[in-house]
């Protein structure tokens, strides 16, 4: 039985009152105007509905909510900053449990390089708290001003720092989780090594709130970088970008903290439609790389120059500029950060968040471009993303002058040709955004059959009534 279709009883006024009693009147909302910010996401792509938004202030309150939900078979949708891109946080009639009031930093320990945050702590706040004790928390993504640590972990967020520091999963040493039945799993830990039984935390990381509600996490901290250098590079092809990546990794190893591949059309859209964005290079090139080195020593500049010099000698780098100051660096990143938004003025855009083995990226782009243009003549592939992670935001803009609705109606056709190539290359149809509802129906088709069986078994084990974020992921 599809969990999404499991019948849930309606929420009676008496039940609403019982939930309200757990969090207090002030933090239980039923008025449409109060509920609205929790049921619509910022792009306006998903429109949800919910009879009740709860804003608990503690793990104990979340536990009580789950106990009541279990005893009365009421479905819950956990929500952090409501910035997800695949609809995982959007309710379809369920009660919303917002974790945003769980916003305490419980502990910060620079000697152990750990920080224990509650799940509602905003990512940017976590970054700042780390900086305040001369440490670095490297998770970084566009939504960092509003997304939360709980949401980052539930979706296993990636972002621009993943190349050197890994995805969100790799930054969590321990978790506190409220299970569907209200039990509290205390797996918080400052330990870098702990081999006492099965790993439980990784089940909840990336589960998009379908197995339990993450209420706190112990995160790894890193030494603060002393020198950061950023370059914007023009080159001929993704294959040359891959060679430059290889040189960069050999020279800089863990100091290579970002390596973004950008198609010229993506750069062009940003320059054309973004506010105050200029092309960093005077010359034109079919491809660009935005790369950054962060080092604990004052050697990032010398290393970056050596990498670029090697690239030029080998005929890989055609032109390059190193950011001369912080504002120029910010300008490079603004061009990159607005890349997704800058596709909107160009009409309909069909988006993918795929990954393939790093070495396969050039072949993937070539094959996907050919297949997409063959399917819809005149359509404009706009590939950009994290080459070092093999993760490309393979977006496709409509043909110039075409009807946007007609183009967007072919979303699944375009997905199909792109996903076929991705799967043939051993890739993933969702590298960093998750499954949510957007890709739920594709999941059984692209995933190993036994893996899907195990996922379903684990879902049934941890959430036998199907009350945790129903209809998402599986």
């Amino acid at each position: 039985m599809n969990i999404a279709q499991m019948p849930m009883p309606p929420l009676s006024p008496e039940l609403i009152a019982r939930f309200r009693a757990i969090v207090g009147d002030k933090y239980a909302m039923t008025e449409p105007a109060d509920v609205a910010p929790y049921v619509t996401e910022e792009r306006g792509l998903y429109h949800g509905r919910s009879p009740l938004v709860l804003r608990p202030g503690s793990t104990a309150e979340i536990s009580d909510i789950c106990k009541l939900a279990t005893s009365e078979r009421i479905a819950l949708v956990p929500q952090g900053g409501n910035t997800g891109l695949v609809g995982g946080q959007t309710p379809q009639g369920e009660v919303v449990v917002s974790t945003r009031r769980l916003d305490k930093i419980r502990d910060i320990d620079p000697s152990s390089n750990t920080m224990t945050c509650e799940s509602g702590v905003v990512l940017q706040v976590a970054q700042q708290k780390a900086a305040d004790v001369d440490r670095y928390f490297p998770l970084s993504l566009g939504a960092e001003g509003s997304c939360t640590i709980g949401g980052n972990l539930s979706t296993n967020a990636g972002g621009t720092g993943a190349l050197a520091f890994g995805v969100a999963r790799e930054m969590a040493l321990g978790l506190e989780v409220v299970l569907a039945d209200g039990r509290i799993l205390n797996a918080l830990s400052k330990l870098k090594k702990d081999n006492t039984g099965y790993d439980l935390k990784n089940l909840f990381i990336g589960a998009e709130g379908t197995l339990g509600i993450i209420t706190a996490a112990t995160l790894k901290l890193f030494p603060k970088p002393r020198s950061i250098e950023t370059a914007f590079v023009g080159l001929k092809s993704p294959a040359d970008a891959l060679k430059l990546l290889s040189i960069s990794q050999a020279e800089a190893a863990g100091s290579l903290t970002s390596f973004e591949l950008l198609a010229d059309i993506a750069v062009d859209f940003s320059v054309r439609h973004g506010i105050d964005i200029r092309a960093p290079l005077a010359s034109t090139h079919p491809w660009f790389v935005l790369m950054e080195l962060s080092s604990p020593r004052e050697d990032a500049r010398a290393t970056l120059e050596s990498i670029l010099a090697q690239g030029m000698e080998q005929g890989i780098v055609d032109d390059a500029v190193i950011a001369a100051n912080l504002s120029q660096r910010a300008a490079f990143w603004k061009l990159r950060d607005e890349m997704s938004a800058a596709q909107k003025p160009e009409g309909g855009s069909i988006k993918h968040d795929i990954s393939v083995p790093v070495a396969a990226v050039p072949a993937f782009i070539a094959e996907a471009n050919a297949a997409v243009v063959k399917l819809i003549p005149g359509s404009r592939p706009v590939p950009f993303g994290h080459l070092g992670d093999g993760n490309i935001h393979y977006n496709v803009s409509q043909p110039v002058g075409a009807d946007a609705a007609d183009f967007l109606a072919r979303w699944h056709d375009v997905n199909a040709v792109v996903f076929e190539i991705v799967l043939r290359m051993g890739g993933s149809i969702s590298a960093e955004h998750g499954i949510g509802v957007l890709k739920r129906d594709e999941l059984p088709e692209v995933k190993d059959k036994v893996a899907i069986e195990l996922m379903r078994s684990i879902k049934t084990l941890l959430d036998p009534l199907g009350i945790m974020n129903p209809g998402k992921v599986l």
Copy 2:
């Protein structure tokens, strides 16, 4: 019901023949002399027994073995290099499934920085294969000449490279696993980012073969270091060592690849009882640090000198020597590697493999030393280990002249006082060696109650008949 006590039917000659038919006569052993190497571990601490050792040559054969074992309710013990220290690989009457013939490197991809190994590949071979394509596989431990990738992952091995590169779990991108019922989970993946559903691989990593048999893994590779520098440092206290660690991490970040804290008595035992081992420093000090930097550039020497100079200026480092050449570096590491064995000539030794938050290590050592000496006057704590991971091999040698058997009879008393301190500090009673049988009975006492409940549920879900390595972990 304790899985260890679940009654298993005896192994009839007819059943032995059916297992034999799967792997072929040559690879099914029942003669005591042939079985012996698989039921005894090298220290002679665990003496097992088994009616049948199977040496399958493929994942398909392992799948067939599991199907037969499930249909006939026959218990299996998966085994790699048989080098585990907690008895996890030692059968107590079960059929042994040795993975050593699964020794193929299925794929090596330096551009993607990945290598897909079968589980029987010996760790040292995996290291060498990576080096052959100018890459680095950083997992490194004493048993690397005989332990296998499958065993490393099943026990989530740590070792001396964990400080910079993480434990075995962090080096696995994907797994292939045969489940108890013979289903084959294909979760092999070269992807650094893949958010398509629940994370399954981490359930099997560190599960010590109790949830399934790992048959292959895709591992991360890293750039090969170009300069490696190793120093042996004399200092006054673990607190000063912690300060030196902090300086080193700020200076070297990811280039700091080892940071081992050694008590003077541990160094003394190695020098006294090891063959051809000399004290690296002429002067005596109560504590030592063995530290290593590995860099992709030629800068390790300069960075190490800068760290040591700062340590001397701040009065933390009393004396230090940098290895002048490869043989001196090897000599430093030999002293460290023989530390455990060198305790044997000193009589009985009660061993612990604990971790605490890094910042708590000095307090842990001080409290544990006091408590142990109070419990057994004259007993000699010999702490050493991976300070950067908070992981100390807190071993205790018997009082000089005492009776070894009398001393070893107090193993659990000594454990009790040490574990009390570890738990109070938020630590782990098994940092890197696992639970096996050695610590199985302690696990429910030291672990969160809900965590134990979830582990038992997961065990029942994946191995309902209790045929996978029964009596281990849980």
